[in-house]
């Protein structure tokens, strides 16, 4: 199934403090409420500009900084359907996949603010409907696709009881 939405463009090195400052968590721990603060320190009003299904599109090293899993959680709660970036910081990558939030690694220089995108995760295809161009992304590794298809790591463990990764890879 293809995801379709509008691109919200961000720069390199968007860290977890920019995604949301910890200070809001002393007020509430409700992810839907916290999502209203999404990116507000670097882009006030961002939350209201997102329509369900939109994409965050960023440069390199998206999600660097803390291991706080509420970063991808509130991005999801804010209506973002996937994040496209040149690269992702490692802990953020794990957290997003664990929660079932798809990540796409591709050349995001070919995407501008407001472009309408169609994304096929399995084939790793990004179609920019605004420009009529295609961008080839890295298809997700099999193990990651399995975790996403199972609805994230908690669901995977509930069904299988433990981790099994494909043997003999490498």
């Amino acid at each position: 199934m293809d995801l379709k939405g509008k691109a919200h463009k961000f720069e390199d090195d968007i860290n977890t403090d920019y995604i949301m400052s910890s200070r809001h968590r002393t007020q509430t721990l409700d992810y839907t409420q916290l999502a209203k603060h999404l990116m507000e320190d670097i882009r006030p009003g961002f939350y209201s500009s997102v329509q369900a299904g939109d994409f965050i599109v960023a440069g390199k090293n998206f999600g660097c900084g803390s291991s706080r899993e509420y970063a991808p959680k509130i991005i999801k709660a804010g209506g973002i359907s996937a994040i496209l970036a040149k690269t992702f910081a490692r802990i953020f990558y794990r957290n997003a996949i664990n929660l079932g939030l798809p990540l796409v690694e591709c050349d995001t220089d070919q995407i501008s603010e407001g472009d309408v995108l169609r994304v096929n995760l399995v084939r790793g295809e990004v179609f920019n409907e605004t420009h009529g161009t295609s961008i080839q992304a890295q298809p997700m590794p099999e193990f990651m696709v399995t975790l996403l298809n199972e609805g994230g790591t908690a669901n995977f463990i509930r069904r299988h009881g433990k981790f099994q990764v494909p043997k003999g890879k490498g």
Binding site: D13, N15, D17, Y18, S21, S22, R23, R25, T26, Q27, T28, L29, D41, I42, K60, N61, C64, G65, S66, S67, R68, E69, Y70, K73, T87, F88, A89, R90, I91, Y93, R94, N95, N98, L99, E105, C106, D107, Q136, Q138, P139, M140, P141, E142, F143, M144, G152, T153, A154, N155, I157, R158, G161, K162, F163, Q164, V165, P166, K169, G170
Partner: protein, 447 residues
């Protein structure tokens, strides 16, 4: 079509990243890095860079900020028993003592869960999770994970220690295991000894400036050489703590006599079986630096890799100083600050906040008169914890103010106000700035 690097979890190794040499395992003579050896030992299979492995986890740490979310994930995993409660430890450091009702409730939830399952709980006030990991939990050769990106600090004890999210910790609590992509390793070889008045913090800021914020993303770093051998364990902890600021999955050092002595006196005693890299281990990069002429460094707002020699930031007004935290809250750090502040008084309107990394360190600093010196100079002492560093509890700067902190991050808004600026430096640079109300070279205060 553009040629992008392989995705991070592809399970395949791109030989280009290793200079096109033969893949390890094809030839028996190829050696292993420390990370590969530990992951192989704990997963029971050969662990070459690029492999996916499922490894037994020796130490599973959750703290009061992100542990509750792990309990949520655990509940989603269904009716699961905790097979190895002895491997789990709960820490209380991020919001202590609780600043708000919701956090008080979360801390109680963690305490109740720990009691129900027989999980070790380090009480509020005992220390910051990374310091307690090295003092009470982690041993050389182990794998430690924690719900905090700076968990890599324990790599100074020759362990594979890495930060993960709450769901990963929940999965490890439920299964005793976690999956890893075996990382490539960058070897950082450090030659020479640091000159007087230049500290581990200056060295790691310098290295982060060189490697940049994501220079070691998805990779481990091994820090080695005569510089590391000459450093105290406290200084080594400072360096490994900030490995994540260059993106590193783990920052690992070898175990030596200093490690053994520290473990038997300050950590968890017992025989030490050091894990050494093979002489012919394959590294993605080897970087070599001579440090004997290194100068004090400062990371300017709002990125840790925005580092400059301190003299280039000299004169910048500073309104608040934080000395301590998990990064630089060891006794030696407090002693350095006290040596500068002794018999002096901080600048008018300066807020000097001191946060020892653990209760043990606080007690030592009290017994040696270090705390008395700091408080006489005008310092406020907080309970061991993270509050000001993460902007949730105390020490929030006002709009337009500048903070010089010995902590590990200076992101915009990090300390609770996006309209303030955070500079990072050594405890010496911080103490000197507290005296003068501006960034100054601390060496003039150090005999």
């Amino acid at each position: 079509m553009r040629n992008f690097p392989l995705p991070p979890w592809s399970g395949l190794i791109d030989s280009r990243e290793r200079g096109g040499g033969p893949a390890r395992g094809e030839l028996k003579i190829m050696g292993y890095t420390i990370a590969e050896k530990i992951l192989a030992e704990k997963s029971g299979v050969e662990a070459k860079a690029g492999h996916l492995v499922v490894a037994d986890i020796d130490v599973i740490m959750a703290h009061d900020s992100l542990g509750p979310m792990a309990l949520e994930a655990l509940a989603e995993m269904g009716d699961i028993a905790i097979p190895h409660p002895e491997r789990i430890c709960f820490m209380n450091d991020h919001l202590v003592p609780a600043p708000a009702r919701n956090y008080a409730q979360l801390q109680k939830q963690m305490r109740d869960f720990a009691r129900q399952w027989g999980i070790r709980q380090h009480a509020v006030g005992e220390g910051i999770c990374h310091q307690l990991l090295v003092e009470k939990e982690v041993r050389p050769g182990q794998i430690a994970i924690g719900t905090d990106s700076h968990t890599c600090m324990a790599g100074a004890l020759n362990a594979f220690a890495t930060g993960v999210g709450s769901t990963d910790v929940a999965a490890a609590m439920a299964t005793g295991q976690l999956w890893f992509k075996v990382p490539e390793t960058i070897k950082i070889l450090l030659q020479g000894t640091l000159p007087p008045g230049v500290f581990a913090k200056d060295l790691i800021l310098f290295l982060i400036g060189k490697l940049t914020e994501d220079g070691a993303n998805y990779q481990a770093v091994e820090l080695t050489g005569e510089t590391i051998s000459s450093l105290s364990m406290g200084s080594r902890f400072t360096i490994c703590n900030m490995g994540i600021e260059m993106g590193a999955k783990a920052a690992i050092m070898e175990a030596d006599e200093a490690t053994r002595r520290w473990l038997s006196k300050n950590g968890t005693p017992g025989p030490v079986k050091p894990v050494k890299p093979d002489a012919n281990a394959i590294y993605s990069r080897t970087l070599e630096y001579q440090v004997s002429k290194l100068e004090p460094q400062i990371a300017k707002p709002h990125k840790v890799d925005n580092t400059v020699p301190l003299k280039e930031a000299a004169g910048t007004p500073i309104h608040e100083v934080v000395i301590g935290t998990c990064t630089n809250g060891r006794l030696e750090d407090l002693e350095t600050a006290a040596a500068i502040l002794k018999g002096r008084r901080i600048a008018p309107d300066m807020r000097l906040i001191v946060i020892p990394a653990s209760r043990t360190i606080l007690l030592e600093a009290m017994e040696q008169g270090v705390m008395r010196t700091l408080v006489q100079a005008g310092a406020m002492v907080l309970a061991p914890g993270c509050g000001p560093c993460v902007g949730v509890h105390g020490g929030v700067p006002a709009d337009g103010e500048n903070v010089l902190s010995t902590a590990n991050r200076n992101f915009k808004g990090r300390m609770g106000n996006p309209n303030a600026n955070i500079f990072l430096g050594s405890p010496a640079a911080a103490a000197a700035a507290a005296l003068e109300g501006k960034i100054v070279d601390p060496r003039k205060y150090l005999g």
